[in-house]
Amino acid sequence: MSLLTPEIMTWVGRSQEFKSDPISLSDARGFVASSGDDNPLYALPELGHSEDCDAYVSPMIYYAVTRPFVSSKDFAEDGTVMELRPLIGTGQTMGGSVSMEWLEPLKLGDQLHGKRTLASLNEKEGRKRTFVIAEWLTEYWDNDGNLKVRERYEQILF
């Protein structure tokens, strides 16, 4: 029996909008410290960044600051946030391929407004199980309406 019921397929084309908190110095410090990528371009005084780099932060931080804060009951069994995604199979998920384009660098204080759209759902047969690949397309703007990041994410649902 297919994992993709007619009800689940109605999710295709749906969009969600969300807004992050402003990117803080703590966010920036946490990402640099944990990733090990202490690029002096990123706006931390201890990295010795120069004043003309205009408070850049690590590009991947957009993902961190747009993750929702939810209560424990809103987590799936695998520790991921259920958010607004179709419940497929056991409700678990793994990351697939991701592509991002930074049209402008991210900076301290940026507050990202995102719009995420479920572009497609495709069922596949794996070695161990049947799974679904969800294709999510997301755009992120700052408070001035500048498009900062475009993301295409293939999420594996099973």
């Binding site: 371009l41 991947m60 961190a64 793994m94 161990k128």
Partner: protein
């Protein structure tokens, strides 16, 4: 003196297709992985819950894909001097990356775009040296700041 950039930092206007990037070596511990998961607010149990991941047929905890993806960004950033910024990243995790293994990040310049202010793309691979296999492949874009 800044030690982030490689001693022989590359310049966008002078690189050639096929030119090698600075190699990186990483050996993430479970503490490193937990810290990164907290920083990106991703609490997938595959990254820190040994019992849970073994129930899914995988021997031990695995490094988050976003971390191996960021290693690819870091390799490109370190290879070029100040004055450049990352413009894009496309990555795919082609094998699980066990926590505690030794990883080498290598890459080459793939494409030059003289029309776009000298922007380039690089192909980068994260290889599990311990298991002798690639775990992440990526394409990273870079441009003048």
């Amino acid at each position: 003196m800044n030690k982030y950039y490689s001693e022989d930092a590359l310049e966008l206007g002078a690189v050639k297709v096929g030119q090698e990037l600075t190699h990186l070596e990483k050996e993430p511990t479970l503490v490193d992985v937990v810290r990164f998961c907290a920083a990106i607010r991703n609490f997938h149990r595959f990254h820190f819950d040994q019992e849970f991941i073994q129930q899914h047929g995988i021997d031990g905890n695995i490094v988050p894909g976003f971390l191996t993806g960021n290693w690819c960004i870091e390799a490109v950033s370190r290879s070029f001097g100040a004055g450049h910024e990352i413009s894009s990243l496309k990555f795919r995790n082609i094998a699980t990356a066990p926590v505690g293994n030794h990883y080498r990040i290598t890459g080459t310049v793939k494409e030059l775009n003289a029309e776009n202010n000298g922007a380039i793309t690089c192909e980068v691979t994260v290889t599990d040296v311990s298991a002798d296999k690639p775990v992440t492949t990526a394409t990273v874009g870079l441009r003048q700041r």
